[in-house]
Symmetry: C2
Subunit: 103 residues, 2 copies
DNA sequence: TAAACATATTGATGAACATCTATATTATCG
DNA sequence: CGATAATATAGATGTTCATCAATATGTTTA
């Protein structure tokens, strides 16, 4: 999967904040959570959680699923993998594994 | 190689800025550059380049080598690899490849 | 030693941002 | 319908930060 430059930039920024990384990690571990559940894990206000989730969603590293009054979020592994790959590519960390063959 | 939490945080922040990523990428491509050479590639002032290189060095993603009046910088691949691994671990991107065996 | 050069530091400025309180919006339930 | 609950938005505030001009520090060379 190919990431637009704009998305790559946005993801880098999204991952820069420790609180946002913690939220993302929690989502990665639990699979799927709603806003309130996420908030319960951390000592920040509800609007702050909402804001962070929005940032993560805008960067497409999480996906939002509205179910009635609730709003579930889950990690987008495809985007995260693409981000890590692109990061490795840019940093020259994948020279040896350039085109891995599966036989 | 194990990254201290503090280092992981600092690297995430260091990678958040596009200008710093561009500098790092340039260093990854060319291997080794001094301050002036780095500056020549971008349209920013000398103090700004110096500042960014310092941030990258503080995060240990580049290493500094003073040679007389010049100052050479090169990428620290070990730290960058460790960062990417830790990132993958936290984001749950390595479930399948947990302990890759080389036979 | 004086001038020229490479890099670092200082201090200032404007923008971005994390966070909060207050409030709005939308959905459920009695 | 009215109350309660979940999430979002608006606006404010303090902090962090990217950047620059000016200057300092350290190094080479004429």
């Amino acid at each position: 999967m190919k990431l637009a430059t704009e998305d790559f930039d946005r993801i880098s920024k999204a991952l820069a904040d420790p609180q946002r990384r913690a939220i993302l990690q929690k989502l990665a571990m639990t699979g799927k959570l709603n806003c309130s559940d996420v908030g319960a894990f951390f000592d920040v206000s509800q609007p702050t959680v909402s804001h962070h989730l929005k940032e993560l969603a805008t960067a497409h590293v999480v996906e939002k699923e509205k179910q009635g009054q609730f709003c579930f979020y889950h990690v987008n592994n495809e985007v995260l993998s693409a981000y890590v790959s692109e990061l490795q590519r840019r940093l020259g960390l994948n020279a040896v594994l350039a085109t891995p063959h599966v036989r």
